[in-house]
Each structure stands twice: as structure tokens, then as C-alpha cells.
Subunit: 323 residues, 2 copies
DNA sequence: TTGTAAGCGTTATCAT
DNA sequence: ATGATAACGCTTACAA
């Protein structure tokens, strides 16, 4: 029979159905009405030829859009190890998916300049520079930054870091704590804001060190601090995962939480493998994701999009107690 | 002074540099040599006009490729809650990124038929049907299936489920266990294989129930089984996360692991928040990801790609002991 | 090494 | 409701 024939195109379908190219196009796009009988003929011809719908690549060029939104999250395995990041991602994906947009993961190092992106979400808390930034700006790709640097031209989604951190600090102060230490993130806007909030109440809070939101990382970080700790009675962390690591390491070293040591987190995610409820600052992760995605949609549509600042709430759990 | 001028194209650059369109193209693609002086002129013109490189959409259409590979992982937050999935994803992303390909997340429900995908990875263990499958086949999109159904036309990446499961079962048998129960995954190829391996040794192993790889889920699943358990002395799980959940729930109910109950997992991932090392079946997650990505590259290149079956290894930890 | 020209497969505009 | 036609911006034979 026939050799390796090329895939049928819309033109083939149109010809086979005896209609014009534009009518065939409208049959599939539905952008303008097409009579029922014509549609029948076109679809029949398509089925017969094995035409699987308009070529996305061609449509993309014509429309100037790819339907793909990039999301920069740094190293995948570390970024997504934190449930907070996943909750956010879920919300983003939900909104973008409903709009027919796909979500493309951008590692920090890769060269994504050649990929067709309609917009990019920058969600790498703890980084202040980004190789791809200049390129994206040059290409006029809308950029939505989550808790990152307030780069020119980008839309900015953030939460009330300082307010939440200060509320937590006040809670500890009210419990009688005076000697407080903190585990930090890498130098970044959220970290600076949160530390400022902490120092609003405890100006001399000691910094134990910085690490990612990773149980093992925080355990090794605080390991010796718990031995030769000075008079520290509470440790404030920048994520619930960090806080869980501190709790576990404290117990390993014979300290009871919260009796001997109060521990606080940030985020408000579930930690079912911990047998206590963390005192933490709950951030609206789903709202943050939705707001981010909505900002992306707005920017893609060319609308004026304003920055978003979301509130947080202190949640007192079982990991903090009187000093 | 000019109004909202449209973005410059390669043709503008070529004209401004006084060279032909093809020469300008070659300057950027490097696909054929261009004299140094010519390149200079082109790049200078590009810089002057603010040309940010060839339009990816146009190149995609011309080349018939988008540079985007889809990966179907089901619900994002649940899929990535398991560190095993992340390790795999990392390896995939590493190889594809090096090849200049982007990775697009495909939720199960969304309609991704309109997205330009060069290939798709199906990595949803525990699902046997997929709405998008027929469409991808119709569009001739290469499909690489990881531990999923052996769909016609797809390349198949898998591990030695049954062998590993049987080795684990023999380990338990050698420890004197005779009354074994198991926590399963949703009905699927891996689940069937692993259960077969278990029953090679314990034909009458009891099924406690199925759940995802989620600590909270498994805890509630096994909660009452640990109370009114018959003579069960060991529980075999289908992931280390499941196993961790069983350990925690067992302890919560006053059972010591491994003295009163042996618990085994699958995967071989780190569980730093558990104070014992799980006995488990270690699968080569990075290899699996690399093999998957390599298969994708091969399929995109139109090569003949063979299926891959990777070995696993029993690792005896502290969560199993004599019955 | 550089230029000419032919598409890639659509969608959108404008008539009819 | 349908048809003719012009882009969309680039890459790549092929020619010179």
C-alpha cells in the first residue's frame, strides 16, 4: 500500500471534505459557527485520514503563544521535599491547568532560553540572582516572583513574613522566653523580613545557622548547638520541616519538647510523623498558589496586574511552653 | 519616539546588518560556519535592535519539535510526597535538561492535547487507564511508561518487583516469621508483581488494605489492625514511607519495632525523621530516571529503543528481627 | 562563505 | 456560513 506517508494536515482534511481550509480550521477551533452538515463532513474526512487535530506547533506560532508556563524552583528534589512547596505547586497547577496552560519545571542551571514560555514563575526563596532573568526580560516574558527579589518588571506575590514572625516571637515572650535562637534560610527577602520580625521582640536572638527545609540538614546543623547551648530556651525555625528536625534532634539528645525546649516553625503544614502539633505561623499556601497563577494569567493576557501580599496567622501548638 | 513597535525579527536584524536571512540565522544557530566579521555585524545589529534571539515558536514549527517533554505523575502533591518519586524526577530532569529539553508536569485530569509535546513519560504507578493515552497515540507522541501498563507502542521501564519482594519475604521467613501481613498499593502491575513475590514465600499473607505512600494515610489504615491483629508478626509495605507510617503507628499503640513487630519497606530512600533504618528493597531510582530520560531521547530521535528492567537489592536494616 | 527561496501548518482578516 | 489569502518567524536545501 502506501509508504511512510507524512501525517495529514488540515489542508488534507479540507481537500478531502471538499471545504476550504478556513472552514476546516473553524470546525476544530469552534471560533466561528459552522453548519452541522459541514462539520460532519469535515470530521468524517479527519477520521478517515487519521487526522488527530490541529498541530500545536503551528497554532503556537500563529497565535504567538505556547500554552506553557515555566516555574523555577531550584533543585527539584530539595525544593519539593518541603510539603509547603508542594501545596503551593498544587494550587498553581490547578488554576493554570483549568486555563489550559501547562507547567514546565525550570532547574536553576539549565538553559531554557530556547523553550517557548508564555510566562515564568520564580519560586526560589533563598536566591537573589538568576541567570535566566536577563534573558527573560529581553524576551519580554512576563515574570511572577514569589517571595523573591522585587525585580523590575515582575509581578510580586508575597506573605506577611515580618508580621507573622513578630507574632510568634511575642507568643514566646509571653511564655517567659528571653533567650531565643533561630535557624535561618539562605539570605533572602523572606529571611530578612522574618528575622526582623523576630528581632522586633528579641533583638539579640542568636542565629544557629542556615540550612534548607530538610530534616537531616537541620539535624546536623543544630546537633552540637543543643549540647553546648547557652541559656537558649526556644528555637525559632523558618519552616515546619526545619522545626521537626529540631524537635527530633532535641529528643535524640535527651531534651523534652516543649518542657526543656520550645520549638516553633513556619508554614503550617501537616507533619503526621511528628507526634505533636507544632506551634507555627500558618501561611495561606493555596491562596498563594492561586494568586500566583492568577497573576500569570493576567500578565499573559496583557492586563495590569498588581502585587499581592497575603496575611499569615499564628497557630499555637504543643511544641511551645513556658520557659 | 516610535510607538509600540513590534519586536524585531531575524529579518530585521539581517536587513540592518546587510546580510541575508539565512546568514543571520546561521549566526545564531551555529549550524554552519559564518565568517567572524559577518558574525560581528549581525550580532551588533541584533544588539542595536534589541533582538533577543530566534523566536522559539517559529523554530519549533520549522523543526517540528517543541523541546518539551511531558511527565504524567497524577496529583502533584501526593505524587511528590514520596521521596522516591522525587529522586526519580531529579534524574529524569538532569538528563533531559542536559539535552535542552524541558519537563512539563501533566496532571491526570487536564486536557493537554493542545500542548506541543515531543514525548511523554507516564509515571503513575497504580493507575491502569489514562484518558490522554489514545490521544497521544493518535498524535504519534512517543510514550515512555515507568512501571505502568505495557501499552502498545510505548517503551517500558521497570524494576524487578517480584524478585525483590521475594528476597524480602525470604529474609522474614529466615527470621522465623510465619504470619505476615502486607499493605498494598492500588491494583497495578507493580503491586501484582510484588504481591506475587511475597506469596512465593508466604502464600497466605494477609492484605491489610491499600493506600498511597503517605504517612498519615497508612497510619489510619493500619490503626485498628494493630489492635485486633491476629498472630501477625511482620508487616510488609510497598514503600518506605508506608513502612515509616506503620512503625510510627505501631509505637503509638505500644508495640516495639522490631521486637514486637517487624516492618519492611520498599524503595530504599532516606527517612531521617525515623530513628531506625528500615529493612527494605532498594531500587536504583537514579538509574531508573536516567534510563527513562535516555529512552525519551532515543524515541524522539526516532531510534529503536528497548525496554529496560532494572535490578533491586534487599537491604536489611533495624526494623526487622526474629519473630 | 553567503544568498535565494521554499516551506513548516495553522489562524485571522476580509470578502462574498 | 464559507472561501481566498496573507501572515506567523524561522530553518534548511540548494545555488552561487
Amino acid at each position: 500500500m502506501s509508504g511512510p506517508t507524512r501525517a495529514p494536515t488540515l489542508a488534507d482534511v479540507a481537500a478531502s471534505a471538499g471545504v476550504s481550509l478556513s472552514t476546516a480550521s473553524l470546525t476544530f477551533s469552534g471560533n466561528k459557527p459552522v453548519s452541522a452538515t459541514t462539520r460532519e463532513r469535515v470530521l468524517a474526512a479527519a477520521a478517515e485520514l487519521g487526522y488527530s487535530g490541529p498541530n500545536p506547533l503551528a497554532r503556537n506560532l500563529r497565535q504567538g503563544r505556547s500554552g506553557v508556563v515555566g516555574i523555577a524552583v531550584g533543585q527539584l528534589s530539595t525544593a519539593f521535599r518541603d510539603p509547603a512547596a508542594l501545596a503551593m505547586l498544587d494550587a498553581v497547577s490547578e488554576v493554570l491547568g483549568a486555563a489550559g496552560l501547562g507547567l514546565l519545571l525550570m532547574s536553576d542551571d539549565d538553559d531554557h532560553a530556547r523553550l517557548p514560555l508564555d510566562a515564568v514563575i520564580y519560586d526560589i526563596c533563598g536566591r537573589e540572582t538568576w541567570a535566566a532573568y536577563a534573558d527573560l526580560v529581553a524576551r519580554d516574558v512576563p515574570l511572577v516572583v514569589v517571595e523573591g527579589p522585587a525585580w523590575p518588571g515582575s509581578t510580586y506575590i508575597d506573605i506577611e513574613h515580618r508580621v507573622g514572625s513578630a507574632a510568634l516571637a511575642e507568643h514566646l515572650h509571653a511564655l517567659g522566653h528571653r533567650d531565643v535562637a533561630t535557624v535561618t534560610l539562605a539570605a533572602s527577602h523572606p529571611q530578612r523580613e522574618r528575622e526582623a520580625g523576630l528581632r522586633d521582640v528579641f533583638p539579640h536572638a542568636r542565629v544557629l545557622g542556615a540550612c534548607e527545609s530538610d530534616v537531616a540538614a537541620v539535624q546536623s546543623l543544630v546537633a552540637h548547638h543543643l549540647d553546648d547551648r547557652g541559656p537558649v530556651t526556644a528555637i525559632v525555625c523558618q519552616s515546619d520541616v526545619q522545626a521537626a528536625g529540631v524537635v527530633l534532634e532535641a529528643r535524640r539528645r535527651g531534651l523534652r519538647v516543649p518542657e526543656d525546649l520550645s520549638v516553633a516553625g513556619f508554614d503550617g503544614v501537616a507533619t503526621p510523623w511528628l507526634d505533636l502539633e507544632l506551634t507555627t505561623v500558618v501561611q495561606p499556601l493555596a491562596d498563594k498558589g492561586h494568586a500566583t497563577a492568577e497573576a500569570v494569567l493576567g500578565r499573559i493576557a496583557g492586563a495590569d496586574v498588581s502585587d499581592v501580599l497575603l496575611p499569615v496567622a499564628l497557630r499555637v501548638g504543643d511544641s511551645t511552653a513556658p520557659a
